[in-house]
Symmetry: C2
Subunit: 538 residues, 2 copies
């Protein structure tokens, strides 16, 4: 099996997909900043980034190579460089900082669960920290190669483990090796008539193991469910032994241990396989856009949609700022004119909130679902913008991370954070976090992207001219204040980005002292020496 395409170390994805920063984005930002953007500064080349020296001894490397094969233990500059960070804003800053970066002493590529077990045994014996590495797309520091109390750290890259292990069509269960990425997994399933229906923005590069480890949610999770809801069974290889949970529809045999695997963030062990609920591949996929009078009207409409059982598979609503930003940025795909035309027709010169709905399923069922949903939206004053605008959103969906890279080259900070809360608290949380961010960034947009009967997620994007003297400090100040506001207003510290390093100090607000202690006890039980992803989660 050919190895999967590696992402650029200095930004998202691959060069060929990156595109260019459009004039419309530049013009809109310069208008908002009332200033010209800085001239582009290209990221460094790989050879220019300095890494700390590898601490691995020949003897230990030999022991690992004896197990997984010599070619699957790498200590070369490029392997270490591409495993020394995730894709958060601080990661991108680090790559451009000129500082000597901490990197894993080696990158080890196990071929199966037995390999993982053997590597953990060696690392346990030798006192080496292990950072499980799936797609490397964490935006919260989840794959940063921290050593904890150890002298050495390896990245355990699961990209060789990419099998569809089994498919139980009758029970609609797929068992997947942890290193499978989104497109490859969907390709395997679609060939058999199925889909996982899991499409996070990182879809093209993130993996099954990463999704489960971070309790990922995808764009269609309102329809297909979050990854933790789809998790029926799993294997987590831990230093103390395997936690093997057979795929079962439901049980009352004490606490559900699947919930310890989901969200384990590499800190309890290595997820090597996951059994997930799959669905028939949709006959039809239809996206559409509507304009509503306001974000609060859109929110009410989506709440009614969800609670009355008419949820779209994809259901999103942007606030007024994000809507304006979306209209300005849509120029990238050339559909700006169409969007804007519909927008102006619907609202005159006023503001509005864009709603995206996506429908997936059997061709016969979608019409009735759509009709019920559109009736509700129209009661809240929504005006349809048509399927073209919806498709434009869907097309742009996986390319937005590239925009952040382009803007970073022009000294613009773009960062996102997300939370969820109950419907009754949603607008209060929205305003609280928005106020906190407005002190740090002139542009703060937000959208609802995941619906539940009891509440919804909020996803914030904030954009500011970079403080070139102290870009990390600038980011940290905004992030801290936003996180404090999330906690103060009763939101969860993360709806789908996970804890990693960045949210660690908020875990106690979420789980309480007793809860964090219980999790520490679980970690101690599964990972007595504390090898696994030190400094993350707990």
């Amino acid at each position: 099996m050919a190895p999967p395409t590696e992402m650029r170390f200095s930004g998202w994805g691959v060069e060929a997909d990156a595109g260019e920063l459009s004039d419309s984005v530049i013009a809109w930002l310069e208008g908002r900043f009332a200033a010209k953007l800085a001239q582009p500064v290209a990221p460094p080349r790989a050879a220019e980034v300095r890494l700390g020296k590898s601490q691995s001894s020949k003897r230990i490397l030999g022991e690992l190579a004896a197990r997984v094969g010599a070619t699957n233990v790498r200590t070369d500059h490029y392997a270490r460089l591409t495993h020394c960070a995730g894709k958060g804003y601080p990661d991108l800053l680090a790559m451009r900082s000129g500082r000597k970066l901490a990197a894993p002493d080696a990158v080890v590529y196990p071929g199966d669960a037995a390999d993982v077990r053997a590597v953990l045994k060696t690392c346990s014996k030798q006192g080496i920290a292990v950072v499980p590495f799936g797609g490397g797309t964490s935006v919260v520091g989840g794959v940063t190669p921290l050593r904890g109390e150890f002298d050495s750290v390896i990245a355990l890259d699961l990209s060789r483990m990419r099998q569809l292990i089994s498919l139980d069509a009758k029970s609609r269960i797929g068992c997947f090796a942890a290193g499978l990425r989104g497109p490859e997994l969907e390709h395997l399933l679609r060939a058999r008539g199925y889909t996982l229906g899991h499409f996070p923005q990182s879809f093209e590069y993130s993996t099954v193991g990463g999704w489960v480890a971070t309790r990922s949610a995808g764009q269609a999770s309102s329809g297909y469910g979050r990854i933790d809801e789809k998790l029926l069974g799993a294997r987590l290889v831990a230093p103390a032994g395997d936690l093997k949970l057979a795929a079962r529809p439901a049980s009352a045999a004490g606490p559900d241990l699947r919930a310890l695997v989901a969200g384990s963030e590499g800190a309890l062990g290595v997820i090597t396989e996951a059994s997930l609920e799959i669905s028939p591949a949709p006959e039809v996929t239809r996206y559409e856009a509507l304009m509503t009078p306001s974000f609060s009207a859109a929110s009410e409409a989506l709440r009614t949609l969800e609670q009355e059982g008419h949820t779209a598979d994809v259901a999103r609503a942007s606030d007024e700022t994000e809507t304006e930003m979306g209209l300005a940025f849509a120029g990238i795909e050339g559909t700006r004119g169409k969007l804007l035309e519909g927008y102006l027709r619907g609202r005159g010169a006023g503001s509005g909130a864009l709603v995206i709905l996506g429908w997936e399923g059997a061709s016969g069922t979608i019409d009735a679902r759509r009709r019920a949903a559109l009736r509700i939206l129209k009661q809240e004053g929504a005006v349809g913008l048509g399927a073209g605008a919806g498709r434009a959103w869907a097309k742009r969906r996986f390319s937005t991370p590239y925009l952040r890279d382009h803007l970073l080259e022009r000294s613009v900070m773009v960062e996102t954070l997300e939370t969820s809360t109950t419907w009754s608290n949603l607008m209060q949380l929205y305003r609280g976090v928005g106020d906190a961010l407005t002190a740090h960034a002139p542009i703060v947009g937000c959208h609802i992207s995941h619906l539940y009967d009891s509440g919804a997620s909020l996803y914030f994007t904030f954009i500011a001219q970079q403080d070139r003297g102290n870009p990390l400090g600038q980011w940290q100040a905004a992030k801290d204040e936003a996180c404090d506001a999330i906690v103060a207003h009763g939101g969860t510290i993360t709806h789908h980005h996970a804890i990693g390093i960045d949210h660690r100090r908020y875990l106690k607000a979420e789980d309480g002292t007793a809860g964090v202690s219980a999790l520490r006890a679980v970690k101690k039980s599964l990972d007595p020496r504390g090898l696994m992803n030190p400094g993350k989660l707990l």
Copy 2:
């Protein structure tokens, strides 16, 4: 608030609801046994049951009374008697055995979470085991007053804690005190236009706290969801501190600790409140019965129903034996003639498998759902028996436990056990467990009662003439062999009855060594001295 009605110590529910054993049941059993039933032996009166002497010291009782009030610390015979067992078959045998029974040394009735905290503090200091007691309906030994390594044990009866703490209608979340029983909870919700939709067979006596502690599923859980799926937030008061989880729709903040509260079985702490997803009270509730050619045809029909999104809120299918038993027993409500007539019309003299469907919801939505479901069932050869037969089932639903008591008086053993597995494994598990039980009981029936996309539950009832010389040994042999068969055929050891004492030795088959160790670590963290419900779950 008036205290709730206490169940009879020697059997299910209250005398007034018990009814009588009908001639049709007697005749059918005598036919199957080819023997007359034994003459009735009434259970002992309360005063006749001997209990071990209370070990509580005056000083400790005084300390507890100082906190919760003197009237809320009881050591009288009746209080101790009604808290010395649940409602499993071994519990009923014990009451009739003439043996001196182990009973809690005192029964303590806390008024709120602060009371619970204070009681745990005293018990921790003094070394007293604590058995949380909700409705006392456990059928797996969950409330048996084991002392573990301690000299003394109390039952902590939560029946004073019966408030609807809050209702967030916009977010569809109710927060309930743990001691609320089913009917009282539904009464509070229906008055406000809502329902929890949770109706286990124990509904009339079991409590919110008990449902969460045992990961309960109710008759309508195919529609409304299991209690663990409805659990949005909770408070668990543990000796080491409170685990307080705010009600949230979803989060990715590490492992979901709600999954440690659900299924905790009193062994980690005392659940004092739970925030649960609620639903609008249904405008219409409609039950109906159908006869299908065979259990496997019925199973296939229910699988299609579920996987194509046309699930009824209540969806059950009895195998041929249970169908025959149901038809014979339905005579109790006088609907036997009607059922039988339809049955014979549909199938001639052959056998069949009864399907019950229940629909709840807005009046406008049920017709379309029914049509889609009936189309699928008819493709599998189902014949409608009408709404009368469905209503007869629903009416009988909560009275079946009384039948077991009546039969026990006639020296007939009636016991049930349940499991779940994937659709692809369902019939294999069905046959495996059936074969194991057939060696111990001439009558073994089974039904599917909970549907999931990936599989379903199986609920077995087995009936035999009691071995009067060794009734407990007879039960244990059947139970052991059935449980071994469940594990051997890949089922979960319990779908909704929980672990308690009876399933403890199978937990390792479910969770593995690493999983059980992790749970022990959680217990050690929350309950360092091991006070909480010793000998249960872990």
